[in-house]
């Protein structure tokens, strides 16, 4: 059978037609190889070229920079925030399931009580404690804000418009509604929704600067480029804190507007930042009014929430006594007496004095069997002994928690030995 050979438009080369053919073949295969090569080079080089180094800005002292932040009157913002939290928690808590395989929307981890609405803010915001998340943030003055957690093919939005607080979870098509009392609306800080975890660099910086007052060394640390904006970097380093796990806070402040654009929390031991909150895109233009407008569509299941003076007040505190505090400044250890009602959730960090959130115990109200829960938790923690008897110590890169035999919980952003000695002293 005769072979149909490819047409040979070229002149036969020296070395015979067979070699010329082989050479032409190799040349043609070089084309796809070149496509791959050019792509790899583009992927590798473009970010390197785009990173044109730190901008040169007139130097400012830490004092001047703090004044700049305080004087900032930017009330409108529209941007994308990337939050990366690496507490060293088990990754089972993060929502990386294989649901994408079937075109599914990501089901966020549900650490809250199973009865609660999926749209309830406390239940949803816990997911920010583990892994990396993208948020869309829009604000127009102190009265109108919107924060959306971007999930694969789904979104969770918190919308604050005057006295109305709406939350909408698109993956379950459920909404949560609460009416805020008038006086709280006036007290509310700009760009701060009732929540434990700071979702924006501004909120995080605000909390840290309040907590750092008098207990920290505040210095400037050069400049940086964040989301295309030139920024000064402010470094806050805890002082008088030998036991603290916190190394330093770094806040990048927009040179033009004085708005914090990036916030990082670095551990004392070095390594990757524990918390990294940064704008990847930001504009200070006023967002469209429709952004803050929410009316539940047909068929959306709405759960009415109770408006409380303290957003995480009575509900969350149920079953757990008010904490006592041991130590001072950054080394503070919070002591909870659980009396059998063990917290089943993670301890949210509210940045205040480096302590875990005072009352933000998502899932504290869950009626779990303590013995069974202890067995599950024991798998994560390690056993320690002291004058308090035996206890289980849970270690994260930021917060350490000690759960003793008698049901007392010691928690703080301090190292493990400081926590056990605090428990021994208290006993």
């Amino acid at each position: 059978m005769a072979l149909i050979q490819p047409a040979q438009p070229e002149q036969p080369q020296a070395g015979g037609p067979e070699e010329a053919r082989r050479r032409r073949k190799a040349l043609r295969y070089a084309v796809p190889a070149a496509v791959v090569g050019v792509t790899a080079a583009t992927v590798g080089l473009v970010p390197a070229l785009a990173d044109s180094g730190d901008p040169s800005l007139p130097s400012l002292t830490a004092e001047q920079l703090l004044t700049k932040i305080a004087a900032s009157d930017t009330q409108t913002v529209d941007g994308t925030v990337k939050i990366t939290t690496d507490l060293g928690l088990p990754s089972a808590l993060s929502g990386t399931t294989a649901s994408g395989l079937f075109g599914g929307a990501a089901a966020p981890p549900s650490l809250g009580s199973p009865d609660a609405s999926r749209a309830e803010p406390q239940r949803q915001l816990v997911q920010l404690l583990v892994g990396s998340h993208t948020l869309h943030v829009a604000a127009d003055g102190p009265d109108r804000q919107k924060i959306s957690i971007i999930q694969p093919a789904a979104e969770y939005s918190l919308i604050h418009d005057g006295t109305q607080l709406w939350a909408y979870d698109s993956s379950s098509n459920e909404a949560y509604h609460a009416t805020l009392p008038q006086e709280q609306q006036h007290k509310a800080q700009p760009r701060q929704l009732p929540q434990d975890f700071p979702a924006t660099p501004q909120a995080a910086a605000q909390q840290i600067l309040k907590a750092a007052d008098g207990k920290s060394a505040i210095t400037t640390d050069g400049t940086a480029r964040v989301a295309g904006h030139s920024a000064y970097v402010l470094e806050v380093r805890p002082e008088y804190a030998q036991d603290s796990t916190i190394g330093a806070f770094r806040i990048a402040v927009d040179a033009k507007t004085g708005v914090p654009l990036k916030f990082t929390l670095e551990p004392k031991g070095g390594g990757k930042a524990i918390v990294d909150i940064a704008y990847t895109r930001v504009s200070f233009a006023k967002p469209a009014a429709s952004t803050f407008h929410f009316t539940p569509g047909k068929g959306v299941k709405v759960t009415e929430g109770k408006a409380t003076q303290e957003p995480n007040g009575p509900r969350a505190g149920a079953g757990i006594g008010r904490p006592a505090f041991v130590g001072s400044g950054w080394d503070t250890v919070a002591v909870f007496s659980t009396k059998g009602a063990l917290p089943s959730g993670t301890l949210p960090f509210d940045g205040k004095d480096g302590r875990p959130g005072k009352a933000g115990k998502p899932g504290a109200e869950a009626k779990n069997d303590p013995a069974q829960l202890g067995a599950i938790l024991g798998g994560f923690g390690k056993q320690v002994t002291g004058s308090f008897g035996t206890g289980t110590l849970f270690h994260t890169r930021l917060v350490n928690v000690l759960l003793t035999q008698d049901g007392t919980v010691y928690a703080g952003a301090v190292d493990e030995s400081a926590l056990t000695s605090a428990a021994s002293t208290a006993h």
């Binding site: 043609r28 395989l101 599914g104």
Partner: protein, 306 residues
């Protein structure tokens, strides 16, 4: 003999003696279209193709009826846990969402599998039945034949996507209420806006398949067996989809062709997030260029024995 016939005859046969045989001659648009048209007919006349389209059209019907039965008494679709394919929860309140839910449900496997079958069969199927020789005897040139084959596979990508969308819209509009559309971000837009976004999504989903089509075409030039080319393409798709869902392999996932497929859902946000969509289009373009040129390198240099 008319003037036109003479011209064609001259173009085809009267090459001056003594010169080497010319390569593919100057492209005449009508000729390319003719080849494309005949390839298109070959694809869409096949019973296999029609069966694939029938299965794709059946998915929205199945999903729609299931949701209709499930929500008869005003219940929730996914049992209140938010699982299942994206957009499923919204279908019972707005029939338009059945189109998005069906695309989200078929995009991971059904849709690309049908593309894999058609693309894998394109060259290797002709070789297997012994018709590839006759296609090459016609003075079309291998490059043009390859382009016509690829174009017909792309046409099938569009047809397959539109089949899912149209079937979903018909079922959705007849089984569920239709009205203003609530976006993922909670904002409401008019139905017209929603339909326009739906058309854009259909276009994006069809273009998500461009890379796989080129990959299938390349595999098809490697072998003379249509079945093995189809099996290899579909097998590769399944392997890549599994790798794409193993969290430990996240370092290589952004380079896999299905990685940004579900980015079409970003069109349903307010504001629309374009970064994922653009990444998807760029990735598909790179795959199309790399495997398209690899298919060209292979097909123009190989010996055709069947």
């Amino acid at each position: 003999m008319s003037q036109a016939d003479t011209t064609i005859a001259a173009g085809e046969d009267m090459t001056p003696l003594g010169e080497p045989a010319p390569g593919p001659r100057a492209v005449r648009p009508a000729w390319v279209l003719g080849l494309f048209r005949s390839e298109l007919l070959t694809v869409f006349r096949r019973a296999r193709t029609l069966a694939l389209l029938g299965v794709l059209a059946g998915v929205p019907v199945l999903v729609g009826i299931a949701i209709r039965i499930e929500t008869r008494n005003g219940g929730s679709v996914a049992g209140n846990d938010g699982g299942g394919p994206a957009f499923l929860e919204q279908v019972s309140n707005n029939g338009l969402f059945l189109a998005f839910a069906s695309l989200a449900a078929t995009l991971p496997f059904f849709l690309p599998m049908s593309i894999g079958v058609v693309a894998g069969d394109s060259i290797a199927g002709e070789a297997a039945t012994g018709t590839l020789r006759y296609l090459l005897v016609a003075p079309a040139g291998r490059v043009r034949l390859l382009l016509a084959k690829y174009a017909s596979v792309l046409a099938f990508c569009v047809a397959a996507t539109l089949t899912v969308v149209l079937s979903a819209v018909i079922v959705g509009f007849s089984l569920f209420p239709v009205g203003s559309v609530t976006l993922l971000s909670g904002n409401s837009v008019s139905l017209t806006d929603g339909i326009l976004r739906g058309l854009l999504i259909a276009l994006l989903v069809a273009s998500s398949l461009v890379g796989l089509a080129a990959l299938g075409l390349f595999i098809s030039t490697l072998t003379d067996s249509g079945i093995s080319a189809m099996a290899a393409t579909v097998g590769l798709l399944i392997t890549v989809q599994i790798v794409n869902n193993i969290p430990q392999l996240h370092a290589i996932q952004p380079y896999l062709f299905p990685h940004y497929w579900l980015s079409f859902a970003d069109v349903m946000r307010a504001p629309v997030i374009w970064s994922g969509v653009l990444k998807n289009l760029a990735l598909q373009a790179v795959y199309a260029a790399a495997f398209g040129s690899a298919a060209w390198a292979r097909f123009t240099t190989r010996d055709i024995t069947a």
